[in-house]
Subunit: 450 residues, 2 copies
Amino acid sequence: MTRRTKYLLDESDLPTQWYNIVPDLPEPPPPPLHPGTREPVTPADLAPLFPAALIEQEVSTDRHIDIPAEVLDVYRLWRPSPLYRAHRLEAALNTPARIYYKYEGGSPAGSHKPNTAVPQAFYNAQEGITRLTTETGAGQWGSALAFAGAVFGLDCEVWQVRASYDQKPYRRLMMETYGATVHPSPSDRTAAGRAVLADHPDSPGSLGIAISEAVEVAAADPGARYALGSVLNHVLLHQTVIGEEALRQFELAGDRPDLIIGCTGGGSNFAGLTFPFLREKLAGRGTPVIRAVEPAACPSLTRGVYAYDFGDTAGLTPLLKMHTLGHDFIPDPIHAGGLRYHGMSPLLSHIYHLGLIEAVAIGQSECFAAGVRFARTEGILPAPEPTHALAACIREALRCKETGEEKVILTALCGHAHLDLPAYGRYLAGEVVDHDLPEAAIQDALARLP
Amino acid sequence: MTRRTKYLLDESDLPTQWYNIVPDLPEPPPPPLHPGTREPVTPADLAPLFPAALIEQEVSTDRHIDIPAEVLDVYRLWRPSPLYRAHRLEAALNTPARIYYKYEGGSPAGSHKPNTAVPQAFYNAQEGITRLTTETGAGQWGSALAFAGAVFGLDCEVWQVRASYDQKPYRRLMMETYGATVHPSPSDRTAAGRAVLADHPDSPGSLGIAISEAVEVAAADPGARYALGSVLNHVLLHQTVIGEEALRQFELAGDRPDLIIGCTGGGSNFAGLTFPFLREKLAGRGTPVIRAVEPAACPSLTRGVYAYDFGDTAGLTPLLKMHTLGHDFIPDPIHAGGLRYHGMSPLLSHIYHLGLIEAVAIGQSECFAAGVRFARTEGILPAPEPTHALAACIREALRCKETGEEKVILTALCGHAHLDLPAYGRYLAGEVVDHDLPEAAIQDALARLP
């Protein structure tokens, strides 16, 4: 067989449906609850925040949902994304394992986030909404929504976690180039932000606080809606184009993965790649092990509890049954800003609870070492988030070197690091440290579960 | 015909030969001269700076040169690159023109530069060289060579123009992540650098000065060679993979360009796209107009003279017959650092002199406006350099709107702006100005031609 570096699909092979895993699970995921009544939330409860089409997708039990033609037209700017065989990394590791990576960094915003930003903007525009609000941490989600807003003519307003706003100005500049407005969070524009600033004028912010601000603003403006970049069912749904493409690309490669690895923050990138493979596994086609990798500084799956909790710090969202470290847990300032979220997607938490996937937590210095090794062999500079998956991948490849096993490993390379280069600079200067996370910090936050 | 957004080639369709335009020209280009004797330089003169394989390519009159298998293996990490049809830009402009762009920003370093960095590193490694020196302005070339050095195990040392070193730290971080060492230029590590610093301790540097430093260091170390990212024949040769792919992609599209537009700094990106089309035109297959776009602040083709001049400021290089603004002309600090070079590739200058291509100069504010328009429709953020080509492309598309002409325009999108976002920030803040270039400044520098 000819040595191939990448497996491409023609744009005519772009998936035309998203895959909803819910009907294929042995039991349905627990519903979100209204924080006042503790009854399941109704579509009407969500209407001030999301357009009807997305609410429908959020609760859908249809196995497949058609991707609108207008969304496919925009997807074609960068999709189908390539599946790579990491020949050079394999050679550098001297491993018999075969390593593949599905690369999402070729999108306009440089990550997997536009896969859901584009349909979210489309459905909002279709229902007459003119303004979107959202939060962003490192900025991958904010820049994806800014791009999607530009495409569908929506005003986009982003609350960016203060620490990232200050440390990663390039991301803000990207959002502004796409036409978005960016505020540092906490801001004085919302009651939630002012409350935090009153107690902590120098607050570096958190994703939970920024969500509170964006939700508050959207709820108060009938022409506005809120958009979330991970966690929710409809977001994970949109990301399944990644896994659907990868399945077809493995057919082209004449191979099949034994182990699938992805990083998890809110869970959407991981779910997007793995759910279609999990469907096949549940149907008896293939037996891949599916492994989530989270940062040791924010280990919601491996050290959190599975309980109902708020999605945001101020407690404005419905209660979500999820693996959580507590809604007011503030993770240490690791460089993988996209993984600094106190909770985990309820759907993914449920699947973990069912024992269908496994999880591991890795400290950031090992992850950066993996990122540098990857850059110097495969060329692509991986964002700090997917270096977590790469670190787990390299661990496994080195294990195979010991055992001689020709394991096939597939990993999700969900974005590039072009706008995260100061983090690599810190690593190369020996300034990146692993954060020892005391159990007491987690227990303290968990004591305040609603 | 189905509406298509991009035309992809399989990696098995990657060109296996570079195209050398020299034998197809009506007259050969004037040779480089030794500055002392004013006689044509010999391969022996160049041996301290370049490996034998590249010197051979520099003077070759073979029409096609095989691409080594090791180079093809690395090219496959990102090649063939996509040819896009800019449907969304066309719609926004309401033009009957059909606009295509060949995108090179998907390479590891984010521009067309790795197309030549990889073979240059390969040939050096093959001849036992262990260290490469080079200059870089904005940093696209330096990061490409840093990547190529990592792939072939060469130490890579880069002199980066001081102004860019200070203003664009992300580029330096990218080079360092690939393992390169970066010095701001002028530096105190070379006689050339120290001479500049003695007169101008705060010198912002220039490409000409940085070239002097890198050349001086390479010439003094038998294990080192110098690598240049544009201007020379072998560099333009390596870039012709761009145009060869584009020719095949136009066949797939069932279309052919009437007008081909590229930006010119040293000329390699422009030559890479256009030379294969020019070959076809010279052979009577197609009649595209071929237009170079240069910055109004550094207009070597449109306002320079065609004369023998040095390639660097200190006068260490051979004399090159080229369009030049004078080797000690320091262009105003426009944001397109890659276009701030006093000269133009001798081969491209010769072709311009023969009347085979045309040229136009555009001010940077119009270019940034084009870049923002492009980002908000097509998604990709164009580097400041190719916004010059996009500005010319939009001019033409709007002309077609007036005339109703369905002109087919092909433009070279040679890189993304992820590491140039501060320039967009300045533009959005209204701080980008066009530089009025007094004729006296050029005449002053030309008075010192060697």
